[in-house]
Symmetry: C2
């Protein structure tokens, strides 16, 4: 007989399992600000494809990649609406550019770390930390948004994105200020030196209906830099940034 | 005094205005399957930028471009969830590819015409029909989805997309079958001729966090065709299609 307070091994095993499950539930509830219903969705959101890859290519739908696809779309919609309402007089190009600044890979990876998602992500332990690309966390964040959407509905997912991601961690105003930085810096430089600057723009349709733009900065009839982007503004911005480098400004 | 039944000119003017307004309201109600609240949003959805451009660049936010940005995101989310649920065992690449087949420019333009949106779109009359690009209708459809979202909420927008666009007009099953066409056709050809075929893949991050893939079809160590796309599958698909052309199959 085990001593009092010392549980049977089997009971201990179950208790550990249940305890882990309870701790995970608790972590998710804290993270999303409400009690999850289908905890399986959240487990899936934190399952990196390396964990299931051992079981063959067929098992890959049991990783977070599908939820990431869904969450990426939900996140994009919530941020689109947020910007649409916040900037009623700005054009589509500005909204597109700002959204890509908020939800790009790097930004998502940073947000995921701020939420501590790296502690929840399940990776294949045999691979070691070195193979862990930084995008793993950002992808898990997108998958988490997808899980909240399926588990709690659009409104809850929207609330999660706005109140737990955008409002506490994203300085949208500062982002808009850096947006115009390079272009206005280049204009100032040109005015100071009495030179004529213009942008040449070309758009090309990419597969999937996405347009890709190429902007060239033309200084006194000579192309000095080009940039590409998914909006006109983004392409011009990048071209202006490169032109400033080329001019040594 | 005007004769009975012959209204005062001013009254007639207002009646015509109100009548037009009522007809537009009716058209929108029929289109979306529910009574619109904020009719202004729908008017905006059908206002092409050419109409407001005469009033200068500042007025451009009064065109449907901003709603199009929002509606594009909502549409992408609804279709993402639809595919996520319909194909529980398919991977993210498949879902991405299928979605881009459903919501690409060409497909949206076709859907817009099926709904008769071309009759509602307001263009600058002085420009004439010749300048009307085919995308005008597809863009208006996206803007309409954005208007329904803002006016009636996500659930209503989701219902509109599923019950008025996808289910009546999109043959998703047929689309999945053409998806694998080119790749499997190429494999069949290679097997028949005893040749070795493989794909080389390269991924490149584009601004905005989008990945762009380039796939090359390698036949007996020689690259015979390449294709680009926003998913691996899409890139390989296009490369396979071009390889078949190059091989004269």
């Amino acid at each position: 007989m085990p001593k009092p307070g010392q549980p049977l091994p089997l009971f201990g095993f179950f208790r550990r399992l249940l305890g882990q499950d309870r701790a995970f539930r608790q972590a998710i509830a804290t993270l999303i600000g409400r009690t999850p219903d289908n905890i399986r969705l959240y487990q899936l959101a934190f399952t990196h494809s390396s964990v299931v890859r051992q079981q063959g290519e067929q098992a890959r739908h049991q990783s977070n990649e599908r939820l990431e696809f869904l969450g990426d779309a939900v996140l994009g919609t919530v941020v689109a609406e947020y910007l649409f309402r916040k900037y009623p007089y700005e054009q589509e190009g500005f909204l597109t550019e700002m959204r890509s600044r908020i939800v790009n890979r790097e930004s998502l990876n940073g947000l995921a770390l701020k939420l501590g998602l790296d502690k929840l992500v399940q990776l294949d332990a045999t691979q070691g930390r070195s193979t862990r690309s930084r995008s793993v966390n950002g992808n898990a964040l997108e998958a988490l948004v997808g899980a909240v959407y399926l588990d709690q509905g659009y409104k809850a997912a929207r609330k999660f994105v706005l109140s737990r991601l955008i409002k506490p961690f994203v300085d949208v105003k500062a982002m808009t200020q850096t947006t115009t930085n390079f272009k206005s810096k280049l204009i100032e430089w040109a005015q100071r030196h009495g030179k004529a600057i213009r942008y040449d723009l070309q758009g090309e349709a990419r597969p999937g209906g996405v347009m890709e733009f190429t902007a060239s900065v033309v200084l006194e009839d000579e192309v000095i830099a080009t940039g590409m982007g998914l909006s006109k503004k983004q392409a011009e911005q990048l071209a202006a940034e490169r032109a400033l480098v080329a001019l040594g400004v």
